[in-house]
Amino acid sequence: MSETSFSVLGIFDTPNSLMAAIPKLRATKLGTVEAYTPYPIHGIDEALGLRKSPLGGMVLVMGILGALTAFGFEYWISAVDYPIITGGKAAGSWEAFIPIMFEVTVLFATFTAGLGMLLLLNKLPFFGHPVLSAKAITSITRDRYVLALEAESEAFDSQAAVAALQAAGATDIEVLPAPDRSPFLTSDYILRTLGGIFVACLVAGLGIFTLTKWFPLLRPMVNMQDQPRLNSQKPSSFFKDGHGMQRPVAGTVARGHLPTATGKQEEAASLVNPLPRTKEVFEVGRKAYHNRCEVCHGALGNGVGSLTAAYGGKPANLQAQQFRDYPDGKIYWVIVNGKSAMPSHAADLTDAQRWSVVHYVRALQRAQNAKDEDLKVVAP
């Protein structure tokens, strides 16, 4: 290509003469008509018959793709792969995705606009457009208006192009070679680029390192670190004793652990078991009884547990008439406060577990003292 000329420049003195020449040159159909002017001229787009740029459509498609990508990622993470309920929001709440979807939309759209314009549409990078090395370039950027006829194929007739431009009123003509489109991604350039990036990283890293060494007091963005708050296990000047962590105020009650059965056992007699007699409740009671009570009171509740012989203790026989006549509340009171050698189990069992145990003890008692009509209930 370097032998044949690639484009012919015709230089015009005024924008009006340039505008007048455009239709004449387009009519010759010798090649692509291109204009180089020091400033934008109104109406030149229509005169040159520039096609509508496909960039807008590309940006729209990629923007929508970006939104969908962000939505897909977030939905997959928060609803499929690792669903955690945070802040009481359902897994996959689309409301929280919108800001990130917006950001990714913008990211995809801007990258498409920038790279699509440079690489796809303008076919960059290449080494210098021939117009930039033309003699006319200084006047193009100052006060002259240039029309170029550019080759569309090998059969470009530069003699005819020169004649056409002269006929259209160009005051000067210049013939240019084709742009140098020799390969750009050679190993040499790739190595140089990588080396440049490496040097840049090294310089920046060392610079930051020395800066933070020399100016250790310059801490960036400490607003979150230095907020006035109490940290567990850290000192604090807020309280008199200098601790950040404080003991709960006397009488503090955890949620779901309202204190009941605090008085005497006789007072607890009137308490009513709040739990229904369901399979689930009995199962909770069975587990808790098995873990906490069985070692002493025995699997049947008859006071013969595995520890009884070893310690020589005399745990209550829950099958005894005395305990079968106990109201629920008194059994509950014993679980909470302990009795004789039995310690309190308030710390081991939650309120619901205690009442479940009461139900289970009732079931054990009934199992050992079953009545005839119980058989009917069991029948399916």
């Binding site: 109406g43 807008g56 802040g87 409301e95």
Partner: protein, 382 residues
């Protein structure tokens, strides 16, 4: 140019029919419903006028040149602020009916008792009156001065308007926030949102732009705006496009923060609007106020296509109306009310607004012929 507009018997008939329905609403459909409708239309007319006057003031503020040839249209539309005054004064009678902050029970409500002096009828009325006076001063200086310039051709008006515009912008911000907080937010005084004024501003500006586009096309159809080109339309279309996004941005930002924080007093506002039939209206609103106009105007060609712009402008006026309906009507109940009272109000007020705007379109010259920048504006190219 054109002869006086013929008194349109169709419009007058529609208005008469609407007026009958309006009276019927007061008698038969309950006072609450009557006043909710009345407040809706008052806010619509007022925001439409305010949005138009904002376009005028914006041009003076930034010394825009391209918009000089079309400036007379928002100037004429801004005269809607005149009929908005009596409509607004009548709307003050809605205070004891619709606004919980003015009722005696408010004294027993902890939150409302703290705002009692602000929400009380006297101060509320005084605020509205002050807002109206301020806006009318702006109208007199910006629009009155411009109309006078047609005869005097005195460029001193441009200097004066340029100086006054920043002050008017401050007034505008104050007034639109007051309207938003008092008249709309005041319906649910336990709920508040700092951004609410900006949200209403976005709707007001959009409705002003849409009405400007419609009137521009109306005048162009009658060959009364020689020299106004696709480039001018493109700028208006671009504004319309940009502010659909702005409206959605503000609307969604407000929703998302409240949804996240989940505070009972804030989130109730959306709970009501996302339940039952209101949910369908909320989705429709997002559709017609954002998604449809966004994609209708996204290409460059669409922003200067008169046919498409006319459709989008009608759509945006409708969307602004639906937005206000969505803001105001949930106070009447869990089910969206729409029946003959709403239709009568629409007939009456749309008829009235159309008549007024038609009359206003004959005020002064079609372009500000006394403005020294008119020629520069006509030569505007993208």
């Amino acid at each position: 140019m054109s002869q006086n507009p013929k008194k349109s018997p169709l419009l007058l008939g529609a208005m008469g029919l609407g007026a009958l329905g309006v009276l019927g609403t007061y008698v038969a459909a309950g006072h609450e419903r009557f006043w909710a409708n009345w407040v809706l239309w008052f806010v619509l007319i007022f925001t439409l006028g305010l949005g138009s006057l904002f376009i005028v003031a914006l041009e003076h503020l930034v010394s825009a040149r391209w918009s000089v040839p079309v400036r007379r249209i928002p100037e004429r539309l801004a005269t809607l602020l005149l009929p908005a005054v009596p409509v607004g004064l009548i709307a003050l009678f809605a205070l004891p009916v619709l606004y919980p902050g003015t009722r005696p029970e408010a004294a027993h409500n902890h939150i409302l008792a703290g705002k009692a002096s602000w929400l009380s009828i006297p101060f509320f009325s005084v605020r509205t009156a002050i807002a109206m006076v301020l806006v009318l001063i702006g109208l007199a200086i910006l629009v009155g001065g411009s109309l006078k310039q047609d005869q005097t051709k005195d460029p001193a008006f441009n200097f004066k308007a340029r100086k006054f515009a920043p002050a008017y912008m401050a007034i505008f911000a104050l007034v639109i926030t007051l309207i938003a907080f008092d008249w709309i937010s005041g319906l649910t005084p336990e709920w508040y949102s700092d951004i609410f004024g900006v949200y209403i501003f976005a709707g007001a500006f959009l409705s002003g732009l849409a009405a400007t586009v419609l009137c521009l096309l109306y005048l162009q159809d009658r060959d009364r705006l020689g020299g106004v080109k696709g480039d001018h339309l493109f700028n208006l279309g671009g504004f319309l496009f940009a502010f659909t996004v702005f409206w959605s941005y503000i609307g969604f930002a407000q929703y998302m923060l409240m949804w996240y924080a989940n505070m009972p007093d804030e989130v109730m506002y959306y709970k009501v609007r996302l339940a039952g039939s209101w949910r369908a209206i909320t989705i429709t609103l997002a559709l017609v106020h954002f998604i449809l106009p966004f994609f209708a105007l996204v290409t460059r060609a669409a922003k200067k296509d008169p046919k498409r712009l006319r459709r989008v402008a009608y759509l945006m006026l409708g969307a602004h109306l639906l937005d206000l309906y969505w803001l105001i009507f949930p106070v009447l109940g869990a089910r969206p009310l729409f029946s003959w009272p709403e239709l009568s109000f629409a007939l009456f007020f749309i008829g009235g607004i159309t008549l007024w705007v038609r009359g206003a379109m004959e005020k002064g010259e079609d372009m500000p012929v006394g403005d020294p920048f008119l020629r520069e504006g006509l030569e505007f190219r993208l």
